[in-house]
Symmetry: C2
Subunit: 331 residues, 2 copies
């Protein structure tokens, strides 16, 4: 049964009073730069610091109760891990998160602090998905994918749903594309509420698996990409999101690494907010293709803000060089 936009509406109902209805940020400096009104949906202010909480919570809320009570399992060292851990805690059940043994200790700690159990593995010796499947089978746990499930996609789509509830006449909406769950959910939500809207995915130029796959008309794997946008370093689009993106996405554009750091600096300077590299990609894409967008206001999803201070400082520092790093105007 193909996914329908009403699934996003149901997800929005489940998330009401649980997820943060994140604000829309604006800046006349960026509006001038983009030649139009720009609304930034601040999912870095979502629970656990990224949009991933929407999907994880919706997946657990939609699950058969006995399955949920038996526990869930997922693989991620990043935002999906924290999202799953909190969603499980809120549902009074246990999450198990599979993390490579060379992941930063602080990421493990963040997940453990939310009450999840951690399983580590050696990336050179063990295939992650097989480990997840075997553990799930042995311990009777339900797998919660980070992108490739309709409840994850529907949950992710609630960010755009909220945005369009407030500003129906957006000419376009731009989202970062990793596994494709956010892009697919956004397309379902946005095209339902405004059939003429352009839904545009943005990828790092080095992690262009979705762009290549859409051009080819089938899911084409790429080599493991090297990008500062670690949340988007996928090698192939997930199956169900890809199907939806093929139908509903207007375009996928790519941005160089430097434009991503530049967008992080702009988000800090003009919106006073903190984006992780993956979270800044959609703004980078907007600034790249502003000349070929239809007239009218556009929405940008700032997907997450989980970045440590040292990394943030380094990337923004570099981006500020060569520009007037001291200007403080925001209006």
């Amino acid at each position: 049964m193909p996914m329908e936009s009403v699934e996003v509406l149901y997800a929005a109902d489940r998330l009401r009073r649980v997820a943060v209805r994140t604000p829309l940020l604006t800046s006349t400096v960026i509006d001038d730069l983009a030649g139009r009104r720009v609304m930034v949906k601040a999912e870095n202010l979502q629970c656990t610091g990224s949009f991933k909480f929407r999907g994880a919570y919706n997946a657990l809320a939609s699950m058969d109760q006995a399955d949920r009570d038996a526990g869930v399992i997922g693989a991620s060292s990043g935002n999906h891990a924290q999202a799953l851990a909190l969603a499980a805690r809120l549902h009074g059940t246990q999450a198990t998160v599979v993390i490579p043994d060379d992941a930063p200790a602080v990421k493990r700690q963040a997940v453990e602090a939310l009450g999840a159990r951690i399983i580590t593995y050696d990336r050179r010796q063990v295939r992650r998905d097989a480990l997840v499947r075997e553990t799930a089978h042995r311990e009777q746990l339900t797998i919660v994918s980070s992108s490739d499930h309709r409840d994850i996609i529907a949950g992710a789509g609630t960010a755009a749903w909220e945005m369009l509830e407030e500003v129906r006449d957006l000419a376009a909406i731009l989202i970062p594309v990793g596994g494709g769950g956010l892009a697919a959910g956004t397309a379902l939500a946005a095209r339902h509420l405004n059939p003429r809207i352009q839904v545009i995915g943005v990828e790092p130029a080095t992690a262009n698996d979705t762009h290549r796959s859409l051009v080819a008309g089938r899911r084409l794997p790429i080599s493991p990409p090297d990008t500062i946008a670690d949340g988007l370093a996928h090698t192939v689009p997930a199956a169900l999101p890809f199907e939806i993106m093929q139908k509903l996405l207007s375009d996928v554009v790519t941005v160089p690494e430097r434009a991503i750091a530049d967008a992080m600096a702009r988000l800090w300077r003009h919106y006073r907010t903190t984006a992780e590299p993956s979270g800044a990609v959609a703004l980078a894409g907007l600034l790249r293709i502003k000349h070929r967008l239809p007239n009218g206001p556009v929405g940008v999803i700032l997907s997450g803000g989980n970045v440590d201070w040292g990394r943030f400082r380094g990337l923004v520092d570099r981006a500020m060089k060569g520009r007037n790093a001291n200007a403080t105007v925001l209006h």
Copy 2:
């Protein structure tokens, strides 16, 4: 005629659709630290990056139209200057801003970019207030004070008004105290909507003019203070705010410089947001007196976010030292 809380309500009506209804930010990490629910009113996301826009816009909107059309004048190198410039532009009139000639060029540029005229003066030779008065008289301009006027106070109070509309049962609300306009407006608004609320001002320990004045029962000047919270470096509370603070403020507490930088780092890390030093003072105060607050949720006003990257980086860097600078958990 003493000020009444209804003036804040009128101001809120004038600001609807003009000012940003700024979001309330939350963090379970800070909630745990404070032992209660904490709501941060993000006035750093207000137009021109600080709450000052509320007062400036309200003052111009309340003015006799002929006076407004003849032009307004104010003295400030900081947030009031930008606020006045934008408020004038939105009302289709001209703002003149009096700025010391040694103020950072970027602050001048920010004000000029908003269309205001700048008059500079030598701080060692010229008394600022006299210069403002003479210029106003000569050019038939209306003076818009940064704190000492009922329309400024009423406008500033709309931030707390919005906050209490959303969360009526706050046990306390904490605000930074400079000239006292924000504290006075907050007290008027908050005590009207919730008579039992504690309204607590926070000052840098080195800029404790209001604390000393309230203890003495009269406005006592101090020497020009040395604090990173430049927006709060006042030498004496303004007259009308002081009168209101005497009646309605529950307490004024002071915080050391180090606690201010620490609060900036916490706001970045746990709320992913950017506070200027003055903007972080109320959170610093909360963490200092958390043990002696009444039970229940508290509100904190993050008053502004106008800080350049080099300064922000330096202060947060120092605050992060000695702590785990890499933790990324936010839930």
